[in-house]
Each structure stands twice: as C-alpha cells, then as structure tokens.
C-alpha cells in the first residue's frame, strides 16, 4: 500500500475519533437553581439518591434508596411529625377502636396523581396485594397482625401451591370512604404503624397493569414522579394534594450516586443541595464541619446498635457472664473516638426518638466499670477459649468499632477477644441463619414505626425466632410474652407504654443482647437551601425545605 494511503487511514481514524467525541447523544447541562425573586417559595433542589433495590411499588420498598422516591410520592393514612415522630392524620379522617381489635377507618377526600379519587377499596386492595405471598412483596409481613393474614401466605417454601386466600378476612370495605381492620390479637399501637410504605393505597390503574405502574408510579402524596432515568428521578409538586402540608419547592431532582464520596464533593461545591450519608473518612475529626460550615445537621434517628450473645454458644448461657461482658464495654470512649460523636451511648434497648422511651433501663450493666466487670467476669467463670466478635465488613465503620469493643473487653476483663469479619452483610446473614456464629456478634435495628413496641416485639418475642424473624438471640421468656400481650390489649397508649417499659426491664435482667448505642444521622446541605429538617426515619422533610 502506498504511503499516502496509509497516512489517510491514520487521518481517517483520528478524525472519526474526534467527531465521535464531539457528537454522540445529548447529555443535558444540569439545570441551574431557579432564580425566584420571592426567595422563599418555589424553586428546584437536587438531593442525594441511590439505586433502589426493587421497583418503586410501596409494598415492596423497605430500604433507603427506594424510600427516597416512594415516601414523597405516596400519602398514607397517617404521617409523622418531623420534629417528634408523633402520628398525624393524613388521608385518615379518623381511626377509631374500642377494643384494639376492630378499627374503623374513615377517609378524607384525597386524589391520586392521575386524578382518580382515593377510595377505601384502594387501601384494601393494595394491602391484600402486598400481603399475598405469591406477589412477592417485601413488606408483606407488616400485615401479620391482620386477621386472615396466614391464609394469604405460601404453604410451602417454594410457593409451588397457591395460598388458601387472595384476601385477608380482616379487611372489609364499608363504603367509598370507610373500611374496617380486624386484627387477630389486640394491637394497641396499630394506628401508629399505618404511616409506613407498606400501608400506602394503590390506584385502580395499578391493578390493571402493575408493570406500567413500575415505569410511572402513582400515589396520593405531595409530590408526583415526572420522569426517571438511570441518573435521576424528577419529582414535581402535586397541585391537588389533599393534605394541609403543601411543599415549598416546585421540583426535586433525586440524583443517583453510586458512591457517597462523589456526592460529598458535590455538596461541598454547592452542586448538590442535600446529602444524608457523609462518607466515614469525612467524619474523622469532624472534618465535615470545616467543609460545610453552618451547612450540617445531626439528629437522633430510630436506630439501635447492639451485640447479641450467641444462643448457639453453650458458654453464653451464663447470664452473669453476659452482664459482665456488657459492663466491660466502654461505650462513651468508643462513641467519642471511633464515631466522633455521631452515636449516643445506649442506656436501654429502645431508641430515644420513640413514644414510650424511658432512659436507664439497662442500669449499671451498660455503664463501663473495669474493676466491677472484672470481678463479675471472674465470679461467672470467665470465657474459655477465644471470644469472637463477628461483624460484616462491607460497612467500613463496623471493623473499627468491633475491634474497639474487643479491646475494651480484653483490657477490662482479660478475655481473649477477637473481631472476625464476614465479607459482606449477605454472608453475615447466611451465617446467622445457619447458626454458625459463636461468642458475640453485631446486631442492629432500624425502626419500622415510632413506637417502643417496635424495638421489643420484632427483636425479642418468641414469634420472631427463625422463619425470617429478627430475634437472633432466640430470647424466649413467657413473662415477657405476657407483658407484650397485655400491652397490646391496653386501652390507652400510656398504659401500653408502661407495660412495654416493664417488659424492657426484663431484658435488663436477662441480657440476651447488650445495647451499644443509638446512631445519629449526620447530613450536609448546600448554602442555597434553608429550613432543612430530618425526621426520625432519616428522611429529609421535602415538604418543609425551602430555597433561600
């Protein structure tokens, strides 16, 4: 081939490359913040988002990334006060009961984003759909208390046979604005549960075509979903929202990040208006406070971290040993040095943000005292062999605090404690289910609804052992069960809470799990937004936030 032709080939390839670089699809420039002369109302904001685990169906959304989208676009019977998590009626006009078993729900006139009215059947049909086993909805278990729930569950593990019934007998539509809920046992705090994603109503269009709903979810919330792409969800204000808490901003763009460090860089540069996951390296020495002066917030959340004493380790059956080990953990030091103050040392098994919280249930066993712990440990006979503290390593902070806990125990009582990682949370759960963990292991809880009951029943009740339940300590105490049942049947919330508090004191006696701390939520925001509030579910109050 002649020289000229070779040269032309090279030129052609280079030109092609340059042309391809310059063209190729339209990425849009990010929209600048709307310049609103009024300053306070309207405008657009951009907030942090991540890839949802499941399609945006409320009955199947139970993790943070999905909730960022589903929570603002759906309204439920109640919503929670941003400051104190108290329940406020949203779609519900009233929820009445005389015996904590039969609840009558009356609805206000709300509309869905597609203009249809929210009727009683939208709730009942949605709840039946979510509960029904073969529909594979992750939030199905929330309907456990409803009468007839068991008949909607798969008879076998692979769901080869259909359940007995597609609907729960406990739900009945009375008329367009009224329906009743019947529970199989008394549930004194049922109304406070009804604000969770699981209880959102679904429009008629969902039942006609669930797949179309996944592409364009429709709810009755203050925001509606305009579009979703790989990189963002765009929400706009819903003009016909039936509630009284109307949003200030007009548009919210939820930008999807795979890595919180990239999002953090954007918030610092005022390219992102809100981030609720400060990367761990920025928490060290409170570095984020320098990057975000007057642009950060720390609030309590409905979270709880603990160590569980393995029910499958014969040495751990010794209750005095468990108490001694709990006393040997220096929670204050770890909260300060490892967490830089982003957790509050726990004094009980219940988060301070919920109704019914009472401080100090754990007493001296949660107060660090090396000398006392050592003598209690020796009196109990000590732990023979290596005491393992197992944790999942995919969350960077777990390693740091697990090792700190082991060091604290080692220094105080002399036990040979070793922090043992599993590669990720999935592996950790597998080991838990296979009952392979000995010694102590990390446990945690994020509340489903703001009630003291949610920190007791799902974690320590007999019914929560095995089969997908979260009672990994396998705690089983008939007295505890009795108190739970009495509290569930109590006529007033105060009565119920007193009984739940008594149940919590039983946990102090038996120490199946040692409380560690309550993680706080630390968020950062840009200097163009104001009135930034975070609720106990760690959700940004999108209704209240304003552009400056």
């Amino acid at each position: 081939m002649r020289g000229r032709t070779r040269g032309m080939v090279a030129v052609a390839i280079t030109s092609l490359a340059l042309v391809a670089t310059a063209c190729g699809g339209g990425g849009t420039e990010p929209a600048p913040g709307a310049e609103d002369p009024a300053g306070q109302a309207g405008g657009e904001i951009t907030v942090y988002g991540c890839t949802p685990q499941n399609p945006p169906i409320p009955g199947n959304t139970n993790e943070a990334c999905g909730s960022y989208v589903v929570v603002p676009i759906t309204a439920k019977l109640i919503r929670y006060n941003v400051d104190n998590a108290a329940p406020i009626n949203d779609i519900a006009e009233s929820i009445e009961t005389t015996d904590n078993k039969l609840f009558t729900v009356k609805l206000k006139p709300y509309k869905f984003h597609d203009g249809t009215d929210v009727k009683a059947k939208n709730f009942v049909d949605a709840w039946n759909y979510t509960a029904y086993g073969p529909n594979g909805q992750g939030n199905s278990y929330f309907f456990g208390p409803v009468a007839g729930y068991a008949d909607t569950q798969c008879p076998d593990a692979d769901c080869k046979q259909d359940p007995k019934s597609k609907t729960m007998s406990g739900l009945k539509v009375v008329d367009d604005k009224t329906f009743t809920i019947k529970t199989s046992e008394p549930v004194s705090n049922l109304p406070v549960r009804l604000g969770y994603n699981a209880f959102a109503p679904l429009p008629d269009s969902f039942f006609e075509d669930p797949k179309a709903y996944e592409a364009k979810p429709i709810g009755a919330g203050p925001f509606k979903l305009d579009s979703k792409t790989n990189t963002e969800f765009v929400l706009t204000k819903f003009a016909d929202y039936g509630g009284d808490a109307k949003p200030n901003v007009d548009k919210v763009t939820i930008r999807i990040y795979q890595d919180s460090s990239a999002a953090y860089a954007d918030v610092v540069a005022n390219n992102l208006d809100y981030l609720d996951t400060i990367p761990p390296d920025q928490l060290v020495g409170q570095a984020f406070k320098d990057d975000l002066p007057d642009r950060w917030l720390q609030t309590d959340a409905g979270r709880f971290t603990s160590v569980t004493f393995s029910a499958w380790d014969p040495q751990m059956k010794n209750v005095e040993l468990r108490k001694a080990l709990s006393m040997a953990i220096d929670r204050d030091l770890i909260a300060d040095k490892v967490f830089n103050g982003t957790v509050t040392p726990a004094t009980g098994w219940v988060s301070p943000v919920v109704d019914g919280y009472k401080a100090g249930a754990c007493g001296e066993n949660c107060t660090f005292d090396a000398a006392k712990a050592k003598s209690a440990y020796d009196a109990a006979g000590g732990y023979k062999g290596t005491l393992t503290m197992t944790y999942n390593a995919d969350n960077a902070i777990n390693k740091a605090y697990s090792e700190a806990i082991c060091n604290s125990i080692k220094n105080a009582v002399g036990a040979d404690c070793r922090a043992v990682p599993t590669v990720d949370f999935a592996t950790f759960q597998n080991k838990q289910d296979a009952k392979e963990l000995k010694g102590i292991f990390r446990s945690g809880w994020v509340m489903d609804y703001p009630s003291i009951e949610n920190f007791l029943t799902p974690l320590y009740a007999k019914g929560a052992i095995g089969g997908g339940g979260s009672n990994y300590s396998e705690y089983n105490n008939p007295e505890f069960e009795k108190l739970l049942a009495q509290a569930a049947a109590a006529k007033t919330t105060d009565e119920a809470n007193t009984l739940y508090q008594q149940a919590e004191l039983l946990l102090a006696q038996d120490m199946p799990v040692a409380p560690l701390w309550y993680p706080k939520t630390t968020v950062g925001y840009s200097d163009t937004v104001t009135n930034v509030k975070v609720d106990a579910f760690e959700q940004l109050d999108l209704v209240g936030i304003k552009r400056k």
Partner: protein, 310 residues
C-alpha cells in the same frame, strides 16, 4: 492483500467464538458461586418467603447451574442478554450507558495519543536535554501515583476548591468529562510518552537514518516521516490494548466522578450482586476487546508492510 485480509478476518472471527463461550461460562459459574442474591435485599431483615420464591422463579435460580447457563446462552445468541434483578433488560442498561463510556474513552484516547506521542517525540529527539528530563520525571510521577489518588486530588483541587471544572459528571456532557478524561488518560499518557521516546531514540541510531541524512533528506522528513512511522508500531500496540481497556469502562474514574458509564454499572452490579447484569456486561466487554484487538492487528498490516496477515 485484499483477499488475504478477508480470510484473516474471517478466521479471527471464528476464533472468537470459543473464547466467548469459555469466558461467559467461567463468569457464570463465578457469579453463581456468589451465593443467594435475595439475602440482603430487604433491609436488615430476611425477605419474606413469597418474595424469595417469586425472585427465584423469575430469574431461573431454582434450576440447576448447567440448565441456567444453557438458557442464558440460548438467549445470548439471539441478542438478549437477559433481564436483571431490577427488572430491566441488560441490553437496554448497557445501551443507555455506552455513549457516555464511548465518549469518555475517546476523549481519553485523544488526550493520551496527542500528548503522549508529542511528549515522547520531543524527549526522543532531544535526548539528554531538559525536555527529555522533564518528560521522564513527570511520566514517572504519573505512573507511580494510583489513579484514584490522581482522580480524587484533581476533583478536590480543580473541582471543589478552584471551581475550574465540574465536580461530578453525572449527566455525561463533554465539558463535565474533560477532567475525568485527563485523569483516565494520565497513566497511559505516561506509558505512551516513554515508549515513544525509547523507540524513537533507538530508531534515530539506525542505519537507514544515516543513509537518509547522507542522501540529503531534511531532519524534519527523516524524523517526522520515516523514523516516526517505524517507532509507532509498539505504541500502536499499546494504544490498541488501551482502547479495549477504555471502552471497557473505567471503574475507578467513573466512581469518583459519578459518571453513568459501563464501568460504574459493572461496579454497581457487583456491589448489589446482580448476577445477570454482571455476566451480560462482561460478555459485552469481552466482545469489544476482541474486536478492538482484531482492528489493531489489521492496522499493523497497513502500517508496516513487513507484517503480513495470512
């Protein structure tokens, strides 16, 4: 040469088939061994039985491995890479991200080729002088620093503090990708400069250069036309391999700058244990890599007639 090239291409294309089958099978087995993908999908608690049953049925996870694999390959030859665990077609996921990765890769390629070759040529012809030392030291610098350090530092200094460039490139526009492209090109740029410099200075000592000079050819023609072309062969080899790597999506760079490309998608799929996406993406990357290699080999033939493709 025409017919020879044609036969060569066909032979190479046929050779690709066993490679693709072998690679997809290995990846499939490895992803299968990752374990139950439903664990950890429902927050802190185990997923309900109905959810798990539906998930396994939807994604054929209840069948034996070899059956799953054959079903997958059956779809693959029809161009269907399957539906991932989020309910999207893998082909659609890749198609929507490919333009961004292609754009980023091409930009990085242009940067590393232009700057790398220029720097290498300058250093090669002025061997031992200041320019040469400057190039040697700076390329050493770029090679020894890991890319995530370069990326994070560039983002912090030029993005956050100085504000010269956007901090992240979520929308993937040309302007947003400038800094990431430079970061991505940095190490390769250094390698190309060094390769070019070494080859050029070696070629400058060759006999034919003395002959050319003796014949009266100007320096520009000697270096710019003859020597350069010969020195380019190893550099083209390197660039060819690099194109494959760049097209494959730069996982680290895309993560730092939040670029919605193939690399970020692969990282996300691995982190969320989305088996179908992982296998589909890697199959796609293998195909790209094989094609690019084929193109490079053909290009050799055009560059250097001594290399024949038979």
């Amino acid at each position: 040469m025409g017919v020879g090239v044609g036969k060569y291409v066909i032979r190479r294309l046929l050779q690709m088939i066993p490679v693709i089958i072998g690679v997809t099978f290995i990846i499939y087995v490895v992803v299968y061994a990752l374990g139950d993908p439903t664990v950890g999908r429902c927050g802190e608690r185990a997923c309900p039985a109905g959810y798990i049953a539906k998930f396994r049925a939807d994604y054929n996870l209840d069948k034996p491995l070899i059956v799953q694999y054959l079903l997958y390959m059956g779809n693959l030859v029809q161009g269907d890479l399957g539906t991932n665990f989020f309910g999207n077609q893998v082909v659609d996921e890749l198609a929507s991200r490919w333009p961004t990765t292609f754009r980023l890769g091409m930009m990085a390629l242009v940067i590393e080729t232009v700057i790398g070759i220029s720097a290498g040529v300058l250093a090669g012809i002025r061997r031992g002088k200041f320019v040469d030392n400057l190039v040697t030291v700076s390329t050493l610098f770029l090679i020894s620093i890991p890319i995530f350090v370069i990326g994070s530092t560039a983002q912090l200094v030029f993005g956050v503090r100085l504000g010269w460039f956007p901090v992240t490139a979520t929308q993937g526009t040309f302007y947003q990708l400038i800094m990431p492209a430079f970061v991505l090109a940095s190490a390769s740029l250094a390698y190309i400069a060094r390769l070019m410099r070494a080859n050029l200075s070696e070629n400058l000592r060759a006999d034919y250069v003395r002959t050319a000079k003796a014949k009266g050819l100007t320096n520009t023609r000697t270096v710019g036309v003859h020597t350069l072309r010969n020195s380019l062969i190893p550099v083209i080899t390197y660039i060819g391999i690099d194109v494959g790597v760049l097209m494959g999506g730069a996982v680290v760079t895309e993560r730092i700058f939040n670029i919605n490309g193939i690399g970020n998608f692969l990282y996300r799929s691995i982190r969320l244990k989305d088996g179908t996406s992982i296998v589909g993406t890697i199959t796609f990357l293998v195909l790209i890599y094989l094609f690019v290699n084929l193109l490079v080999d053909i290009l050799y033939g055009f560059l250097d007639p001594r290399i024949s493709n038979d």
